[in-house]
């Protein structure tokens, strides 16, 4: 029981949006579809929701073959980036919509709406119009509306993409707590790796219409399958033909460590406790190194230094192509 996606292909004219996607999304977990814009993740989500049909392949939701079911019969909750609020209805009416469609008794609808508004902290706004709410409040309303029908699956399409950074972070934490409370199978589409790493139980990295890697946040961060996944999940820099994280580079003022490469510090930037160094070596014109302020004491621009990846640090061969997406 879960969502099974098998052999899904989707083209828009000449454009290949999805290519041979096989995916298992476990019940009760929060799965993130992560990847750059235009990579196909939203299309996949819309195919799961029934808002888009696959050219080939099948979708099974909780054991029910759903490939040819229209969206309204799939019992999924969908949350859109731009809220898709019903502008002419109050917040309470928006939330009640799905229940009214299902012809639930009035008393039950009222009770359920009250519960949900409580859950998303919008009780005092029940009789406002969506236009009188902030973006974050509108998105919480949309979430309550989607949850009202007790969906088998909750699908979120870049739900925080239209919000400013601070609200986005708050809502992200709140979504994780909400998920721990209601345990509905959730799929979240995002292009923000921090968001995915922070909230998801499982991450599916999608790029150019294909699945690059599936795993837990730790697996993906620690054992990326390729250079694309590595560079998409966090900062990387190139040192001697290897991709390595900037905080995984050891820096010393002599060549005692075997394999270390000489270079010159070209620029130093201090950001709070952290120091970022730009180093020019013979092979790489701009290697990035981050370290704490304590470790950086005594260093200055123009100083000669030796660089080497920290012992046991993760490195991935950098391919010739400067654009990791193309190397996939």
């Amino acid at each position: 029981m879960s969502i099974e996606v098998k052999g899904v292909n989707k083209n828009f004219g000449d454009f290949v949006a999805l290519e041979d996607i096989d995916l298992h999304i476990p019940t009760g977990r929060l799965t993130a579809l992560l990847g750059p814009s235009g990579g196909g993740k939203s299309t996949l989500l819309r195919i799961i929701a029934g808002l888009e049909t696959a050219d080939t392949g099948t979708v099974t939701i909780e054991g029910v073959e759903a490939t040819h079911l229209p969206a309204r019969k799939r019992n999924v909750g969908f949350v859109f980036q731009h809220y898709a609020a019903f502008k002419h209805m109050t917040v309470a009416k928006n939330v009640a919509f799905g229940l009214e469609i299902r012809k639930r008794p009035k008393a039950e609808v009222r009770k359920r709406v009250e519960e949900l508004l409580e859950l998303v902290h919008l009780s005092q706004f029940a009789h406002r119009l969506p236009s009188q709410l902030s973006g974050g409040q509108r998105q919480r309303m949309a979430l309550a509306r989607a949850l009202a029908v007790e969906p088998n699956v909750l699908l979120l399409d870049e739900p925080f993409g239209a919000l400013d950074a601070k609200v986005r972070k708050e809502l992200r934490d709140w979504l994780r707590r909400l998920h721990d409370e209601v345990h509905v199978t959730t799929v979240l589409v995002t292009h923000d790796q921090e968001e995915a790493l922070e909230v998801a139980d499982q991450i599916v990295v999608i790029n150019d219409g294909r699945v690059e890697q599936i795993g837990t946040p730790d697996e993906l961060y620690d054992r990326p399958a390729n250079d694309f996944v590595m560079s998409f999940l966090g900062p990387v820099t190139t040192l001697g033909g290897q991709l390595v994280r900037p905080h995984d580079i050891d820096l010393s003022d002599d060549d005692k460590v075997a394999g270390s490469v000489p270079g010159v510090i070209t620029r130093m930037v201090r950001i709070g406790f952290e120091v970022r160094l730009h180093v020019r070596t013979d092979t790489d014109p701009d290697v990035h190194v981050t370290m704490t302020r304590t470790h950086a004491r005594g260093l200055e621009t123009g100083a000669k230094v030796w660089l080497v990846p920290t012992k046991g640090a993760l490195t991935v061969p950098a391919l010739d192509s400067p654009e990791p997406a193309a190397a996939g």
């Binding site: 828009f12 454009f15 949006a17 750059p36 814009s37 235009g38 939203s42 299309t43 888009e52 049909t53 560079s231 966090g234 900062p235 990387v236 820099t237 190139t238 900037p246 930037v269 970022r276 990035h288 981050t290 400067p322 654009e323 990791p324």
Partner: protein, 289 residues
């Protein structure tokens, strides 16, 4: 936070939201059929019949009216009146639009509603109103003006006024939304760069509303050439003097000169259809940019 250190990604074009077109049910096809039939029966067929009847005898119909001195005088008068009315309305329209959008004053809301009034007032009432005020014998101002040597009603100025009245809102309705949309940022920016009021208007505001003015002018022109009811009341319909092209159509039709009526109507229709074609061709181009 991380962008300093990550490899620079080439800027990506804004993601295009791709959607499949929704499947069409029988309802969609029925609707399409119904709408097409409705528009053909109400508009397309009748309009094309006028064109066909005009050319039943080749170009002789058109030729006929172009050789009739009275009709030519009427056409000339119509063009003169339309151009005068459009010039007046454009200047006034831009002025009032600026006033409505860029300044606050008591009664602004009433004024903005009143500006639309000419669109919903019967042309006959417009004509009557002008006669009551500017009528030569017993209008409010008419006798005074006539004493000063200016005859308004039953003369060209009256026709221009009637035409200007009915076409008044067209420029304003095009310009106001554009002015509202562009806001005052650019104008304020120009002022901080040292531009005076006139320079700001001429070099910043006017270029921004240029297309809106063009649409307004084209629509006004179509409306002005075709005004009938209001002109009929104020013009006196004197053959060869104050008879406009639309009045010629009526006159010819009632005198059983159907060919002449159709030909004149066709000329007028051509101009107005040309006007809307121009508007529909230039509008989307401008909106895309």
């Amino acid at each position: 936070m991380t962008d300093l250190l990550t490899r620079e990604q080439p800027p990506k074009a804004a993601p295009v939201r791709r959607r499949s077109r929704p499947r069409k049910g029988p309802v969609a096809y029925l609707l399409r059929l119904f709408v097409t039939a409705y528009l053909v029966l109400l508009v397309a067929w009748p309009v094309s019949l006028v064109a066909i009847r005009t050319f039943e005898d080749g170009f002789s119909g058109i030729q006929g009216i172009l050789e009739d001195p009275d009709t030519v005088t009427a056409l000339k008068l119509t063009v003169t009146v339309a151009i005068s009315a459009v010039v007046v309305n454009t200047l006034f329209g831009v002025g009032i639009s600026l006033l409505l959008v860029r300044s606050e004053f008591p009664g602004k809301r009433a004024l903005s509603a009143l500006v639309d009034l000419p669109l919903s007032v019967s042309p006959i009432v417009v004509g009557l109103a002008l006669v009551l005020v500017y009528g030569g014998r017993n209008g409010w101002f008419g006798p005074t003006l006539e004493g000063a040597g200016l005859q308004v009603v039953f003369a060209t100025p009256g026709i221009v006024m009637a035409t200007a009245f009915v076409a008044l809102p067209l420029v304003i309705r095009e310009v106001v939304p554009v002015l509202e949309e562009i806001g005052t940022d650019q104008e304020v920016a120009a002022q901080t760069l040292g531009a005076n009021g006139w320079q700001t208007f001429w070099r910043v505001t006017l270029p921004a509303i240029k297309w809106a003015i063009v649409y307004g002018v084209v629509l006004s022109l179509a409306r002005s050439l075709g005004e009938f009811g209001a002109v009929k009341v104020v013009s006196g319909n004197v053959l060869g003097q104050t008879r406009t092209a639309t009045l010629v159509v009526e006159e010819k039709y009632l005198n059983f000169d159907q060919q002449g009526a159709y030909a004149t109507a066709f000329l007028l229709a051509m101009v107005s259809v040309a006007c809307i074609v121009i508007v529909s061709v230039i509008r989307p181009k401008n909106e895309r940019s």
